[in-house]
Amino acid sequence: MPPKPRSKQSAKTTSAAPDAEPSAPAKTLPPSDANPRKLFILPKDATPDARIVTLSNPATRTPNRYFHCPKHGFYEFTKIAAPKKSPRSWLIADQGVGKNEEGVKKGDSQEESTRSSSSSSGYIAKAADLFIATPFDPLFFLLPVLQPKDAKAKSLFLASDDYLDAMGETSPHMRHLFQTPITRTLLERRMADICDHVSAGQEKMYRINHDKVLAEFLHKAERMIANGLPASMEEKFVRTALQKPVTSVKEETDISRVEAPVEKSGAEPMILADAADVAESQSSAAETSQDSQSSFDSTATASTAATSISIAASSEITLSSPKIPIIDAPEGIPHLLRLRTALTFLTSSYLPPTLRTLITTTLTSSTTPNIPSFAPLNAHLAALATLRAEQAALRSISDNISRKRAHADDDDEVAEARAEKKRRKEEEDKKKRNESRAVKQLKKVDTSGMKKLSSFFTKK
């Protein structure tokens, strides 16, 4: 998710719960709400016609909630939840918020009054979930319909109406949305950005162009990494991937440190799968980003006291920059890896699987000059992988050595056991020598048919 305009929403805990849940005036204190209120942060300049709509998630094809404003377009919801380990709740005190609000925003008095009437006594939301509406490129909605279902089929030029109709089939709400001219033009503009188009008389015909899609995604990825990746992504996919194995194997700790990146190296090709898991549902994707923003999260929770999120967001960015020690890699490699990580995240979170593989292949096969070549990155990662493999091999050798040393101790035990065995055997031999002739001969007696005496006499 591009970290674009979080700054746009300023201290707006305001248009909170009531927007979404217009119900239940809490005069008395009910045991608990069957349909608890949720806290939303919505764009401040949303028009009154803005609605929460259910649209098909482009990546998963499952219905998801989006926020649509006829003027500004689409927003997706990012859920920010408290970590499960430290459960929290929201205390939504209307009084304080109201006062705060007076300074910021006097308007919309009607909404204000309804809210104050409904929750004048305050409200405790059990789940400390915060839903933030972040701008969403309608391009993502368009891509599934633009891309023909059968990947091999030659895609045809079609009128925008046809595409939009197709879109309306999957998400009934969409049909109403593009009734508004602004939305329609927005959609068509985005369509034009990624399509070849021809004019057939009055009408414009569109056909998807994968190179354009790729360029669009690259542009998004560039923007995503412009301010640096979220800290956890940076750590997991960039830093560990580029970490050089430690050469010394003398100490146990070194070994374990070598071990770690070796494990992680397997994770590199898995990014896509990993992220795909993540993108399974919009909310879960949001949760990852929430994970990545744990620092941000804590501040956001504090924002109940009307702290501005933009401060939190920017603080996160500023926080992340000094935290990062220098990555030991050739010039441009970290940038390429970040770009690829961002791309992988974008494609796995917002693209249907068919298109995802298409984009990935286009990315690798494309030789267009404006698309950066990932060849040096691949080469570097391969080099690192071999280095790690060597390290692992060396480690296993050294492991063997240390194991041998451990074996040395074992050897003592083994030797002891052997000595014990020998001793026992000698004893046995001695015993045998001590055996009288008669006892020896008695051993040869045919005792078949003779039961042991213990079957006659009971043991004491």
Partner: protein
Amino acid sequence: MLEARLEQANLFKKVVDAIKDLVQDCNFDCNDSGIALQAMDNSHVALVSMMLRSESFAPFRCDRNIALGINLTSLTKVLKCAQSDDILTLKAEDAPDVVELVFESAESDRISEYSIKLMDIDQEHLGIPETDYGATISMPAAEFQRICRDLIALSESVSIECSKEGVKFACQGDIGSGAVTLRQHTNVDKPEMNVEINMSEPVSLTFSLKYLVNFCKASGLSNQVRLCLSNEVPLLVEYSLANNSHLRFYLAPKIGDEE
């Protein structure tokens, strides 16, 4: 502390001689009632049980129960150093490492002292119930020994049939067959030659002759031997000793196959 003085070393020598061919190592369990021993052979088909009552010794002192684990071959070696009519004294501490044997020659004021290292022997003790045997045969020990030695020339096993007519030891071998029948017999002049058969039911059992021959090594201990038989239970061969002491052998019968 154990101290057991035996007037005649011969008794102990013979007992050990009789046992040593059956078992290798065994525990001599000493308590205030005397010295007891119970051991099985390697195949666990024969059992020897010895009881030397404290009255057999003079004096006998045993403060607490002691188990003397002794290798019988070693014991035999040491006992060979004793003359038959030497006075034998067994000595051991309460938690002994060794057992001491002192041989005193009454004639020549010769005292020889030996010690044998003890060993830890795990032996299972079997509880032997009092049994009413179907047939009890008392006969001269030498007679029994002779029968066993004669028959082993023909076969490995002997069937002992006890009926009204008497007791019949019969065997069937590769070269032929043999049988010895004894009838009840009372010798007024020599009571030790008596053959006495007490029978409540006819009994017929087969035993391994090799084991019986082995038991017969105790023949020197007593003039008479008592054979107790019941169907389906082990044979008891008992040599009575003075002072209510005894040496008993048990042997599992051969059941099924062969005959």
